[in-house]
Symmetry: C2
Subunit: 582 residues, 2 copies
């Protein structure tokens, strides 16, 4: 009984063994992550089109719920860049930014997403996430990074702009070029340059100055905080808010409020598909990072329990003023590197953020939006990686096509169409590939029992015997291809009296393929040609025995193709075949 | 040059060799088919919700165009039951039966369908039809047969009724039960019973009377004509039209008119999806029967050219007052059995029908709708075949699920949702199956070089060596499954120092799977475990050589698994592996 409960509550497992050493590791990690998360949460909320506090609220209860239900020891759950962009895109189609309807729609999105993840987890359907191929994900993340960075340029320039696709965004920015706010531009460019320098140059610099690696690392993580403090002080000190610099302004000084997602059927219908999309993309991002981190310590994560953990986290976000969350790459890596040993580190981070929400929010009143935009741009540009194009081009044109289409469609038509098209294209290309399987006519390598492709090797063949090897499972998508191919070859080669299908590469023969084999058998029989199988795998043979194919076969099933060769060339093959069939 | 034109115009091939013997065979076949087609064309037009003449018009120009462009020697193109039902379903959602809009929408459907088929043919995309698996088609045809027969009961009962799903139809019939027309019922039941008897009992009866097989067959084919003549004479003689028996009435006495399909964007948008559906289903029906007949005479059909032939036929229907057509099972079989040797038989049939359209239409004025309904019911009930459920259940639960879902959804939600769901379900189930491939841990059969599943055979294993065989190509859908499985087994078996993946069944490793293998390699390296491959196929190995996997592999690639076993158990395996990796 306890076992069954424990399966759904991993906290019962690690909680019982929690000790002072784990506590101190977790506390240190929590402090570091909290410092990093404060500006990041504000920035991602802005990216999602929500008030700054939504980002902090989305990091408190969700982290705690994940600590109870999740299986990864180091995953840090909260707002992430791609999900924030998807939220902005989905909610932006329903409500105007800044309205109450917009915030409610974001809550509803988190609610639907949480429910969907929970359902997948309870039904153990985590494998659905596999329909997103690695190249499609890589292409999507790269294109999203470009879209996100572009969407933030308006804050750097201090102009109004919008748009959901790259072209719309650029056109909108271009139209606003005449109204650039120079002070905002100076702050934005300076903050961006500083953050890039922190990321690339600060750590080596500090190491050269003699700082230990850990301290240098910590200082690097604190870079965004330094930028936030410096620009906030500058705006406050020089009164720049009065000169057109857009600032964060009032942020309520409170713990996360109790909120209700909207439950009207219209709203749910409009948000259901985006919620499913966000769930799956969030899950894929989260499980990838969780598995990578778990492997480093020879731990493991359970994908279906992860769905439950993320589902709970999103439901938590929906009822406490947040928006969809997931396990993020950056924050989890920091948590892991800072030494987090158990999900308790996440819970402590949540407490740190709760304290920040109550005590520190007045301090960000003068924080310029440009600084937050700089934080986002520097963070997402590290996600942009076009090397996937080069890698897939070298390895497989099919995968390259899927990546290229995903990138172009995401940039050109927006995130939702981009990722949906990526999935459809990769599934379609896979089916297309298996619909025209590699098929080789083989002959005997002289002096051996081996058979090889007649086009590649010097082999023995007989005009009255056609030996075909198909390097693919047979199923409905390629069943008719097989019929066509055999029909073609038989009508061309008039001397053929026996056809042998070498089945060594067939892991499956489905019912459509069975019917195609039966049709081929009947047609060949009508032409007076024998039809034989060789090297059928055990499980496939077990299944064929449950059908009528073997009893009606106008020929025989041979264990090895060499047996077939001997039987069909050692005597009058056509005669042998028709005898076998009677 | 001539070769290239001839490829698109098969008539140039058989036309040059046409002689007197072929002419007489074709003429006899044409007479028989024409007699059969007159009542059938009227009946299918009624099923499609169109005036009776549309069925005849749809059999004239389309047959001629198919004779020019098609590759099958015996295929008879025209209205068929399932496509007529699909037409009624699609057009019925846009216009009211009997209105001019309805007829125009049917023309547009034929136009779009013809254009789509032509496009597929020119782009050589005939393989798309393969996405319909045999069981899904069988289930769909069976369910359609039931829907069609049910839809005709209203004509037998003489009541008004409607509906697109089985439940709607039955409810609508039930509501009309109080208004049954008794005379119509008598005619309908008598005609149905007679036609069933003709189909089952007449031929054996005539043979016993001493008639030769050919004549008995011809008399059986003429059954519907006898029913038509008898009931028409009865209605005319007893003045039953005045007593509530619904009759065909005025049919224009003319050759097919020149018509224009509607080209408004709204109409095209509304009919595009149904047109694609009709095209694909029509093509699948047509190509199946064409291939079966061609095989009997060792001829062949070219699927892509068939698309062009059917596309031309549908365009012909669109401009001459018809509606979507395809190659039908019944009419093609009759054509073939009657001895048709070339597509000229089709052209002669078209002439026969043209004469009927000009000369015979006044004769069907008193033909009762109930007789046509009886013709349809008897024809389609021969399509209903639930044995596919039993067969697939015995062979494969996956295929059974696809059939059962297709039948239930077609009956319950209508033809369009039914077939679309069938395709999605069969693709989804295939992906699901390959997402959890069969994976066996293998050990050495003592005294041999063979390896077998440790759960099925008594084999030698070593605690420090994990040998895994995966019976499936690796691609994005199962890439993560592999990661999970290996992670699972390695975290459970603490003594494991080497993992060998046996790749003999992998016909492909796509980029996602490559990345998964790289991730597995890195994780195993982090745990100090060696990762090796064995029995990689040539084309897969060629591809892997273009990636970094082989250079980074924390182990070796072995030609045979026995080599791997010897190398990794003959000495300290862990040591060997880490040496190999350096």
């Amino acid at each position: 009984m306890f076992q069954r409960i424990a399966r759904y509550l991993p906290i019962l497992d690690w909680g019982r063994r929690y000790d002072r050493s784990a506590l101190s590791s977790d506390l240190i990690a929590a402090v570091i992550v909290t410092i990093m998360l404060i500006p990041q949460s504000l920035a991602y909320a802005m990216l999602a089109g929500l008030p700054a506090e939504a980002g902090i609220y989305a990091s408190i209860l969700p982290i705690m719920l994940y600590a109870v239900f999740g299986t990864s020891r180091a995953l840090a759950v909260g707002p992430v860049a791609v999900v924030s962009l998807l939220t902005a895109s989905a909610v932006g189609q329903i409500a105007q930014q800044g309205t109450a309807g917009y915030a409610v729609a974001a809550l509803t999105l988190a609610f639907l997403s949480g429910g969907f993840l929970l359902l997948l987890g309870l039904l153990r359907l985590g494998f659905l996430a596999n329909f997103l191929s690695h190249p499609v994900i890589a292409g999507f993340i790269t294109a999203s990074g470009i879209l996100i960075a572009t969407s933030q340029l308006k804050h750097i320039l201090g102009v109004e702009a919008g748009g959901h696709t790259l072209i719309e965004m650029l056109a909108s920015l271009f139209a606003g070029l005449g109204r650039i706010n120079p002070i905002t531009l100076v702050i934005g460019v300076a903050a961006t340059a500083f953050l890039f320098w922190v990321r690339k140059g600060l750590k080596p610099f500090l190491r050269r100055m003699g700082l230990p690696a850990f301290a240098a690392d910590l200082a690097t993580r604190a870079g965004p905080v330094i930028a936030v403090v410096a620009t906030t002080v500058a705006v406050w000190g020089f009164g720049l808010a009065g000169r057109g610099v857009s600032i964060v302004g009032d942020v309520p000084q409170s713990l996360p409020p109790l909120t209700m997602p909207g439950l009207s059927p219209d709203l749910i219908r409009a948000l259901l598909l985006p919620a499913i999309l966000i769930s799956i993309i969030g899950f894929v991002e989260s499980i990838s990072v969780a598995q990578t981190l778990a492997a480093k310590r020879r731990q493991r994560v359970d994908p279906n329990q992860e769905l439950i953990g993320l589902g709970a986290a999103n439901l938590g976000a929906a009822f406490t003023g947040g928006y969809p969350v997931t396990g993020g790459f950056a924050r989890s890596a920091v948590n892991f590197d800072a030494g987090a040993e158990t999900p308790a580190a996440g819970a402590f981070t949540a407490m740190g953020l709760a304290i920040a929400a109550v005590a520190l929010t007045p301090l960000v009143y003068y924080l310029p939006d440009a600084t937050l935009a700089a934080t986002i741009i520097v963070a997402v540009l590290s996600l942009v990686d076009f090397s996937i194009l080069r890698k897939t081009w070298a390895y497989s044109r099919t995968d390259f096509t899927a990546v290229a289409a995903t990138i172009l469609l995401t940039l050109g038509l927006g995130v939702e169409i981009g990722i949906a098209a990526g999935v459809l294209i990769s599934v379609g290309l896979h089916l297309y590939k298996t619909s025209r399987p590699h098929m080789a006519e083989v002959g005997l390598v002289p002096g051996t029992h081996h058979f090889r492709n007649i086009n590649r090797h010097r082999v023995e063949t007989r005009p009255d015997l056609l030996s075909l090897r198909i390097d693919e499972s047979l199923y409905f998508v390629n069943a008719r291809f097989l019929e066509d191919q055999i029909q073609d070859r038989v009508t061309q080669g008039c001397a053929i009296r026996n056809v042998v299908l070498i089945c060594s590469a067939m892991n499956e023969i489905d019912f459509s393929a069975l019917e195609s084999l039966e049709a081929i058998n009947q047609r060949l029989r009508a032409m007076g040609i024998g039809f034989h199988l060789s090297e059928v795998k055990g499980p496939v043979m077990d299944r064929l025995k449950r059908s009528h194919l073997l009893t009606q076969l106008n020929g025989q099933v041979f264990l090895s193709h060499y047996d077939a060769w001997q039987a069909l060339t050692g005597q009058d093959g056509g005669q042998a075949a028709s005898t076998a069939a009677q």
